[in-house]
Amino acid sequence: MFETLSDRLTTVFSSLRGKGRLSEEDINTTAREIRVALLEADVALPVVREFIARIKERARGAEVSKALNPAQQVIKIVNEELIEVLGGETRTIRFAKTPPTVIMLAGLQGSGKTTLAGKLAKWLADQRNTPLLVAADLQRPNAVTQLQVLGERAKVPVYAPEPGNGVGDPVEVARSSVDYARRNNHNVVIIDTAGRLGVDEEMMRQAADIRDAVSPDEILFVVDAMIGQDAVNTAQAFLDGVGYDAVALTKLDGDARGGAALSIRHITGRPIMFASTGEKLEDFDLFHPDRMASRILDM
């Protein structure tokens, strides 16, 4: 069932070898195969549509008609286009001119925010920063404890003035954390927030209030690589509701193709900055567009 795109296209093209130029029908057949592969990889339908249009245009061009092996040439084009969309301006955290640099995490429930907060803290501390973790999820049962445990593991202090489990104001915690960081010489503040749905207006407003209270240098949208077609709605809802500067993709240690990466990058134009690849604090890396391209297409 999950044939690779390379296999599929090779089958399609085997009947046309030696023909030179691809006919419009050949191009359509090819485009259909690519469409299926992208959809099986959970790339969002509207993104697939635009993507295919671009591939078709290039497939009609000289680079394919002159190729000895049109199948390989088309795959190369698809790969290039994928990397182009996924990559763009790759960058890492932008530090504030006057510390502390404030990083805020936002995303759906269970996407991996709290774990990522711990990873990011460790990663930054390893590069001789002095991060502070901030427990501003006062909603999910024991989110505060979870962050404290992670902080201990990462050897990074946790600012947790409120117990959570429904007690305390996350906006106030976020606000006061920045002063606390300044007084205690933390050059980076990482704010963990509660999971929320794009359609939850009240919770979206809370996220915007936290943002307005701390003016983050970076807002990271944390998204599970297993997400399907809803990636479009959710990515857009968070963009409208709170806004974000970059994306962190989690749970890449599984076998999900991760089409969401393409969808979100394409729809929002925001770069994917980090890849989370496991439950342990060190399972964390900068995002590599080329690896992601071959993963999506299973090449």
């Binding site: 959970d42 909603q139 445990v149 359609v199 399907g228 749970k251 076998d255």
Partner: protein, 280 residues
């Protein structure tokens, strides 16, 4: 699916509705083709009729006649034992809490077993749920053997004369053989003490095509008896369960509709299908 004319666009639209609901491109094409054939045979003319036919087709795929009851009733002096399984962050612990709430609300008594000894503050999270809904929680320190915590929870259930024991397990990706073996062991060890009545696989409605792979592997390792589809209060439709049910024959039994203790419902095939068609 508005308007009266049936043309190529109509069929594209049908396929689109299904794909964006995460039904999967292959299934979406099959369902659309089947519908097309039916429309031809029946000589259907209007979009409204097509819509009704699509609804019926989807319902048939979900098989409304499957037994979707959750076995929470004790047998003799043995409590019913329920095991929660699934990948990371889908809602296992929350669902365990909500399910306990339902059983307690019906006059039963519940022991919750914190067999997630791995994730930071997992046991504390389950404890909060236990306190919230009035269930006893059996837990040990971080890093304890999950199988023996599960075993202790069942022993406690028997000792207390509880009607239901719900065991929460750590989230694990189905691709991690070591962790999947560990899960198999949890079940086998519990079975030394009592029969496992339900293995509930929790799937997050936002999950795309990977959901089928998850279900296949979990079903193989622990013989899943039911699916819980969580986070249906969002915009995701959870269409992946159509493939899961068809391939594994395991029914969706429960639906998660929020983070609160009462946000759990029985799966309603008609409501599920209507939500998919809503956007059309």
């Amino acid at each position: 699916l508005a308007g009266d004319k049936l043309d190529e666009e109509t069929w594209e639209e049908v396929e689109e509705i299904l794909i964006t609901a995460d039904v999967g491109v292959t299934s979406a094409t099959q369902i659309t083709d089947a519908l097309r054939t039916r429309v031809k045979v029946l000589g259907t003319r209007s979009a409204d009729e097509v819509r009704a036919l699509l609804r019926a087709e989807l319902l048939a795929h979900i098989n409304p006649d499957l037994d979707r009851s959750v076995r929470t009733e004790p047998h003799g002096d043995r409590p019913a034992v329920i095991l929660m399984v699934g990948v990371n962050g889908v809602g296992k612990t929350t669902t365990a809490g909500k399910l306990a709430r339902v059983v307690v609300g019906d006059g039963g008594s519940v022991v919750l077993g914190a067999a997630d000894t791995f994730r930071a503050a997992a046991a504390e999270q389950l404890q909060t749920w236990g306190d919230r809904v009035g269930a006893t929680v059996v837990r040990r320190g971080e890093g304890a053997d999950p199988a023996s915590v599960a075993f202790d929870a069942v022993a406690k259930g028997i000792e207390e004369g509880a009607g239901t024991v719900i065991i929460d397990t750590a989230g694990r990706l189905h691709t991690k053989t070591g962790l999947m073996d560990e899960l198999g062991k949890v079940k086998r060890v519990v079975e030394k003490k009592a029969q496992v009545d339900e293995v509930l696989l929790v799937l997050d409605a936002t999950t795309g095509q990977n959901g089928l792979r998850q279900a296949r592997v979990f079903a193989e390792v622990v013989n899943v008896t039911g699916i819980v589809l969580t986070k249906m209060d969002g915009t995701a439709k959870g269409g992946i369960i159509i493939q899961v049910q068809r391939e594994l024959g395991v029914p969706v039994k429960l639906v998660g509709l929020g983070e609160g203790p009462d946000d759990l419902a029985l799966f309603d095939p008609e409501a599920f299908v209507d939500a998919i068609l809503e956007s059309s």
